[in-house]
């Protein structure tokens, strides 16, 4: 009797404790299938987030028994959240992610991502190399969603008001920044808090200085050293660009993605260093019409003393959609990816909300910034592919970003930067 009471008590305790420590996938009580989804598109009423919602609605129309449970954050917190979910074995069924060796590859190596059949995604107008960027050991693991170009957005009205043209060289940029500052605007903004835009810009400046991006790839592969003179020259040019030339505010390293975007969109800043995925700035109703009609994009400036040219374009295929390997609803998730790949390029281009990794039909009704980006892409004589920070290990990426932040903030010297980057590369290559 005593034992049975104790057993009942323990069972009750277990029932109480289980929800505290348990987790797990649960479908809706009305019998609907819940597809858990994660992405970096927290604004579901504008641009890319709105496109995602429309695709979800189209999928639900075709599969009325499906419900989506979407979790969205800005991209760096989102990437960290996915790592935490991976550690806890709680990845969503469908995820927006990135094809890089620092992000997709660790999940693939841990068998957490479902392989896809390339035949299921044929004939959808992929740009050359787009699908291949999502292959690991010959298997396709994600569908690419954007072709990413590293560009300089500008507000034409502010530049006109300040009496400056679109800067095409670093000297022009420095002179323009001085005038823009005098007029009370911030010359240029970017997401300096997260670091990755700074790392990408380091690669861009390196290319402008040397005219040969393969040197960077050689250093990453351990065939050259980051302490070589060309890297020191690039590091100095980088520090000038971010710190010494007055192009950015002195809060660069505490300005996050949202703050930088808002400063530009609310017409406090004249220029915005970011990727082509911000094409939707011209259609984002959060910003005033005056801004939307004046936003444009230009090529990253060249260095007067550099060997690089304006049409050497830092560009890559980054964002993708992947499926959790052990999803309870893998077939539905797979169907969703096919729907996404079919609908996304048309919808995103209609809304001028993003720059897809698939062919789009340009038209006269495209926004000026969309036309600029198409022009920049078409003019490119060489592209970088995935940039240096994402070509090695997650730890290398973090060190790369941190060093770029520290150099931009002026808390380390050019020599310290180069030596530390070399040390990080050597560790990553072990």
């Amino acid at each position: 009797m005593k034992n049975s009471k104790l057993l009942v008590f323990l069972l009750i305790m277990f029932a109480i404790m289980t929800p505290l420590f348990g987790s797990g996938q649960s479908d809706a009580e009305d019998g609907k299938v819940v597809l858990k989804m994660g992405d970096n598109l927290p604004d579901r009423t504008n641009t890319w987030g709105l496109v995602a919602e429309e695709i979800n609605a189209a999928f639900i129309e075709a599969h009325p028994n499906v419900e989506f449970e979407v979790e969205s954050y800005q991209d760096q917190p989102y990437q960290e959240k996915i790592k935490i979910y991976a550690t806890a074995g709680q990845l969503p069924d469908i995820m927006k992610y990135w094809s890089f060796s620092t992000l997709l590859h660790p999940l693939v190596e841990s068998n957490m991502v479902a392989p896809l059949d390339p035949a299921d995604f044929e004939g959808l107008g992929w740009m050359p190399g787009a699908l291949e960027s999502n292959m690991v050991d010959g298997k396709l693991y994600g569908i690419p969603v954007s072709g990413d170009l590293w560009v300089m957005y500008y507000n034409k009205a502010i530049l006109d008001e300040c009496g400056v043209g679109v800067p095409t060289t670093m000297a022009e940029l420095k002179a323009a920044s001085a005038k823009i500052s005098e007029m009370g605007y911030i010359p240029m903004v970017t997401d300096g808090k997260d670091g990755w835009p700074l790392s990408i810009t380091f690669d861009n400046i390196f290319w402008r200085v040397t005219g040969d991006y393969s040197i960077m790839l050689d250093a990453l592969a351990g065939k050259r050293s980051f302490t070589d003179p060309e890297f020191k020259k690039a590091a100095q040019a980088y520090q000038d660009f971010f710190k010494n030339d007055g192009n950015f505010g002195n809060d660069l390293v505490t300005t996050d993605y949202g703050a930088a975007r808002n400063l530009f969109g609310q017409q406090q800043a004249a220029m915005y260093l970011m990727g082509s995925w911000e094409l939707g700035l011209a259609t984002d109703s959060n910003f005033p019409e005056e801004f939307r009609s004046n936003v444009r994009a230009a090529k990253f400036p060249v260095m007067e003393s550099g060997k690089g040219v304006a049409d050497d374009l830092v560009a890559w295929f980054g964002g993708n959609y992947i499926i959790k390997a052990d999803s309870e609803h893998k077939d539905l998730a797979y169907e969703y990816l096919k729907t996404y790949a079919e609908l996304y390029p048309k919808l995103v281009w209609e809304k001028q909300a993003g720059f897809p990794a698939q062919a789009v039909a340009a038209s006269d009704s495209d926004t000026p910034v969309a036309k600029d980006l198409l022009g920049i892409g078409a003019d490119a004589t060489a592209t970088s592919g995935t940039t240096g920070l994402d070509l090695k290990t997650p730890a290398f990426k973090e060190v790369h970003m941190k060093l770029c932040k520290d150099l931009a903030a002026g808390v380390i010297s050019v020599d310290e930067f180069c030596e530390s980057l070399q040390e990080a590369a050597e560790i990553a290559n072990k």
Binding site: K2, F21, K83, P106, N250, D251, T254, P394, A395, D406
Partner: protein, 295 residues
């Protein structure tokens, strides 16, 4: 009643829920963390047992860890010796005021404590913004342009700015504890001291503060854990930068585990963190309770 409480089964039934929660929610994670700290592991995939290598690296090579520990101790020092002293003095003033005025002021002082960390941090990030922030605009309008810094981005001011936000956020709690404690000090004791000729300072030093020692001890213990595990404000303001100027232990741990994908290393930091927090807490308890070990 006594027979029920004397029953071993009853005692077990009463103790078991708390014990179970402690085992599952505290002890088991610490033991798991101890195990992971002995591995090289990214958080998923294969683990490699590497013994004490993570600890050796932290202690001998990780300058950021020591910097972050120093920053946490600095925050603790400011909290204990500045925030607490100010909160105690203010509580002593508030208790002398009329109930109505005291209530209004206490409410105002407590507002920061009830706001979420995200809200207060964003508030201060905006106030301290060098381009459009209120602080620099006030300084400039007062002709103090030389003092207008990029508060959170400048290595000279970033740590001070982060500590200020943290202390500002926690001030209301310290005030609340001290005010509540002061209301329990028996008037007779103070009156007796006055009769014996004690002035206000002597009365506080000899009567009020000794009476308040359990409250002071509790506040300081809470401060120790809060300062050592400080993370949210750092993450939302400076992310540990510029350089490692504003790095704190908990954020360093988080970065190593979830940004650098060094989950084993992050767990090793967490184990050292637990040991350091326990040591400081025990020392504080021993010192503040006047326990010299001869009991």
């Amino acid at each position: 009643m006594n027979s029920v409480l004397n029953s071993k089964k009853t005692i077990f039934l009463l103790v078991f829920p708390g014990l179970a929660i402690m085992v599952f929610a505290i002890l088991a994670p610490i033991l798991l963390s101890l195990y992971y700290s002995l591995t090289s592991w990214s958080g998923f995939g294969a683990k490699e047992f590497i013994g004490l290598a993570n600890y050796k690296e932290i202690i001998t090579k990780d300058a950021t860890f020591w910097r972050s520990l120093w920053n946490a101790l600095l925050l603790l020092g400011v909290t204990v010796f500045i925030q607490n002293v100010l909160a105690f003095i203010l509580a002593s003033v508030l208790i002398q005021l009329t109930d109505r005025l005291s209530l209004i002021l206490r409410t105002i002082y407590f507002v920061p404590a009830i706001l979420t960390v995200v809200v207060i941090t964003k508030l201060w990030v905006n106030i301290m913004n060098p381009n459009f922030g209120l602080l620099n605009k006030l300084l400039k309008s007062a002709g103090l342009e030389d003092l207008a810094y990029a508060w959170l981005s400048d290595p000279k001011t970033a740590l001070g700015a982060v500590i200020f936000i943290t202390v500002w956020h926690g001030f209301g709690w310290a005030l609340l504890f001290y005010y509540s404690g002061l209301t329990t000090v028996p008037k007779e004791l103070e009156e007796a001291a006055v009769v014996d000729g004690a002035g206000p300072v002597t009365r506080y030093l000899k009567v009020v503060i000794p009476y308040m020692m359990p409250v002071i001890q509790a506040v300081i213990i809470i401060d120790i854990t809060a300062c050592l595990k400080q993370m949210e404000i750092v993450m939302l303001t400076t992310a540990g930068g510029p350089g490692n100027t504003t790095q704190f232990v908990a954020y360093h741990l988080y970065e190593q585990a979830f940004k650098f994908s060094r989950y084993g290393y992050g767990n090793a930091i967490s184990i050292l963190f637990v040991i350091i927090a326990l040591t400081i807490t025990l020392l504080a308890r021993k010192y503040l309770s006047g326990d010299n070990g001869n009991e």
